[in-house]
Symmetry: C2
Subunit: 265 residues, 2 copies
Amino acid sequence: MRELVFVGLGLNDEKGISLNGLEEAKNADQVFMELYTSLLPDFSMKNLEALIHKQIQVLSRRNLEEENGKLILEAAETGKAVFLVPGDPFIATTHLTLRIEAAKRKIPTRIIHGASIISAIISVSGLHNYKFGKTVTIPLKENFSETPYNVIAQNKQLRLHTLCLLDLKTDEKRYLTIKDALTMLGEIEDKKKLNIASETALAVGLARAGSKTPTLKADFVGELQKFDFGEPPMTLIFPGQLHFMEAEALIAFADAPTKLRSMTT
Amino acid sequence: MRELVFVGLGLNDEKGISLNGLEEAKNADQVFMELYTSLLPDFSMKNLEALIHKQIQVLSRRNLEEENGKLILEAAETGKAVFLVPGDPFIATTHLTLRIEAAKRKIPTRIIHGASIISAIISVSGLHNYKFGKTVTIPLKENFSETPYNVIAQNKQLRLHTLCLLDLKTDEKRYLTIKDALTMLGEIEDKKKLNIASETALAVGLARAGSKTPTLKADFVGELQKFDFGEPPMTLIFPGQLHFMEAEALIAFADAPTKLRSMTT
């Protein structure tokens, strides 16, 4: 059967995949994967191949973006191709082009969802889903701009939280850290002085969501910059106005200063 | 070991759970579940119990909210308790109270994430993650207010998309439909006339995310109201300003009118 199934790998390791996803991979004629849009720190290719009883072909950014996913499309033209993607398959917009190209070739596509950092961090932090504004990615130093600062400022004005995804270049093993993100935002703060990323602004950092050792810490930026989050991947939230239940959650699970209780609505 | 592990069931059926989640449930002393915060249309209790080799105790809203999760907390005081929750465990804020109560009793808690509608609908629709504003729940008729309309309007002014979760009362088998949501928003539209939910405003509906038969349709509200989405659960998006790639995705996967191409940036 001609088919292309996008399967979300979820978070952290090969066991983040759902039973539905596993079944699709087992029944595929060819299985592909990419590991460059996100970091799955405890992922084992050997274990996943053992689980699905077949070999997995790893595709590079070049295979997918410059060659437009030619290898996958060719496999899906003649049989069932499964494409494994970290997280939920289209949260990074990268693979949308591939899905549209498949549609143009009349190849049926389906999606098996996986856990994504964008819902996981809401769950882990205890912050309320409906209080998040626009999400932003904080780029690595060479691509840094004022955009992330401005997005946080706009959300804050609306009393909303901002989820900041931290950029990475897996091929170069470079992952933006919370510390470096705070430093870069601090430089914009020095110019704009909106108290977005000043030493006394509140922020919440999360490292290794979905692993056995996730690290969640809420504190004022000055303190957070000294905190050791350990290994990547990392994510950052700038809270807007806190509900008292959110403050309690941050105190209970993110070791936040109890002073937060006086900052709630 | 005293422990409370919250495990996300993901979407649609018992196979939405991750391998990590399944392992936790297999190793638990007691397994609990709730099925009232979301609808998993193809879920089979019998199949899930067979997968984890033990009985699952289903908890009602009363057990969890009025009795403050007493049954689960008692189980976690003496052994390993696993609590299965549709989607990702804390996207509905309901269970945060339970986690905070566990922390107060010094019961260690962990989270195994699952796929959530809030990331799934972004993946399915092809709309870009970083272009969503604040999320809103559209309540059932008896609780309807102007809030959802105002949230959509505020997001639209910022050129952002709005994800609208549609409320449900699983115990009464009542699920807000896209048609009814559009009708209620239309009544506010008649008063406010901001072209948010008028017949010519664009909207995207999704039914049964994560199932074998998800239905995604983008169209102008007047047309969308006549469209048959089939069975619940349903979700609705009001797009803000569309990027041309988003328009192409809606045309390819949501059978959107090709007129969208002239409405992009």
